[in-house]
Symmetry: C2
Subunit: 314 residues, 2 copies
């Protein structure tokens, strides 16, 4: 396997012929009845039992999707919700996904200054450095908040450089009020998000971060809110792989996310979360597979891959 | 005790006659020799043993400072660094600080969109809602990242409203590269930080958040980087209590942070972290107390309170 994170990511995308990622953000109330109604798992009021149900579901999801997509994004918040046991479970899933040959992105959106950022980089991205945890593996990459500027991101970059890991700086999000801050216009004519994009590109080009594929271990989270903006952001961050949220449940289609890619089909990986992992609630799949929830998820994953293949060939 | 978080915070400040907070961000390598060289605790390579040492230190610090300051800020990153056991320890310290009568601020700097922000609000701010964790208490307030706009902050505001808790939105940080993004100038003439400040003030004035003291349960993290800017931010966020980092080890003095307060001495709480908890490394205290590290911390805490009292009387 190539060492640089962008090279590893691109190799994984090419080997699956698909620039796709499944996002795992599990909620007990939405689990398939087969799991949540299992008598050993059916107690949402007990954090350990509820977490066991959630983890059982996530393990199954990872197995189902692993043949089709190159990467998973595991959303830390949905595990932190179960306190210390949740963190244990979050890391257990990282191990599962890693063993299944997937690139693992820890969606932690951490950010802080100086020594605190260093602690977060160690806690969320680096390989654990304790003798008693030497069997534990960290994720391949994490999401990072850029509001503090370079010195809040530097410790993550240092881990990326030393341990061949990656990070995706949050540049543009898909939520309704994202414009309140990200869309504010600067004197320079750029939006705040575009200004952040310029900073991220500078960070991405720093020594030792660009891989053989031409992309950096420092990437960007870019929601495809409007095509013109995506084209500008793509132009501004030539060195950055884009992690693109918002597909499916958040309303974006393959055509919407197409401008996140360069003309050679590289440069982005698109994430779908709820539209895949809760496909057993989607009539389109229920009509076909009834209560076979795992088949619903598998088909939704295959459809996601096929839809993306119509606009990008890798 | 009054219910609204700002009222509770102000009452705590008045009862201790001091608008101060001690920040707890412990690093094993900096622990007092008495703790780190204790044979049961002296193994930095084992996460459980190292964490035990860190927690022993933090428990002692909380006891030492509790008579002098109204609040502690516990920095999540320094506990996340010990994985699931670290989260367990972080919550154990919240319980200790709560029992010691302190206002507890969880410095977690979380931020995300929609359902994920909801999970973070539940995980980091709300009272635990599991039957098996009913003895567990969450912090009184947390720090929150505003880059996603209102809908990333709303779930925290909802918990604040429903459970009489608080949040401090990060507006201005004290680090060297903070200006890269926070200092960018908008068409409107405002900096990005000032624009964020305006948003935060709007959020702070929403229904049911303003307490009898006139301040909101939604506050702001404001580093006192330069006096003119602080005066502008103070003017823009009339409803917000300021949580002010940067005192002591980061170089700020009582005079520097004075403009964070309104003329009646209310409206801010100043945090000192390393200058207090590592006072036993400061020659000023070592000369006086030699190896009595707890006395160094106590004296540094008393000095902090006294220095602040020279510029603000409450």
């Amino acid at each position: 396997m190539p060492e640089n994170f962008a090279d590893r990511l691109q190799a994984a995308i090419k080997s699956k012929h698909s620039p796709t990622c499944v996002g795992i953000d599990p909620v007990f109330a939405k689990l398939p009845a087969e799991i949540s109604e299992n008598k050993d798992l059916n107690d949402e009021t007990d954090s350990e039992i509820a977490l066991d149900a959630v983890l059982e579901f996530c393990r199954r999801v990872i197995k189902i999707i692993a043949p089709y997509v190159p990467a998973v994004k595991i959303n830390s918040a949905f595990f932190e919700r179960y306190y210390w046991d949740g963190i244990d479970g979050y890391f257990a899933l990282i191990q599962e996904a890693d063993k299944a040959g997937l690139i693992v992105i820890g969606d932690v959106k951490r950010g802080d200054i100086g020594s605190t950022a260093g602690m977060y980089a160690q806690a969320t991205l680096a390989e654990p450095d304790f003798a008693n945890l030497d069997a534990l593996t960290g994720p391949d990459a994490v999401t990072v908040s850029p509001y503090f500027g370079l010195d809040g991101v530097k410790p993550f970059i240092q881990v990326a450089r030393e341990e061949s890991k990656g990070l995706f700086c949050i540049v543009r999000t898909s939520n309704e009020s994202a414009d309140e801050i990200q869309g504010a216009k600067l004197e320079s004519g750029l939006s705040v998000a575009e200004h952040v994009a310029q900073q991220v590109e500078t960070w991405a080009k720093d020594d030792g971060l660009i891989g053989n594929c031409g992309y950096s271990a420092v990437g960007a989270v870019v929601a495809a809110r409007n095509p013109d903006e995506v084209v500008r952001l793509r132009g501004m961050m030539q060195s950055c792989y884009f992690l693109v949220p918002g597909y499916g449940a958040q309303g974006l289609t393959a055509a919407d996310v197409a401008p996140c890619f360069k003309s050679d089909g590289t440069g982005a990986i698109v994430t779908a979360s709820r539209s895949i992992i809760y496909a057993f609630d989607d009539m389109k799949y229920v009509e076909r597979f009834t209560s076979e929830w795992d088949k619903c998820i598998e088909q939704a994953c295959k459809d996601f891959v096929a839809e993306m293949n119509e606009v990008v060939q890798v």
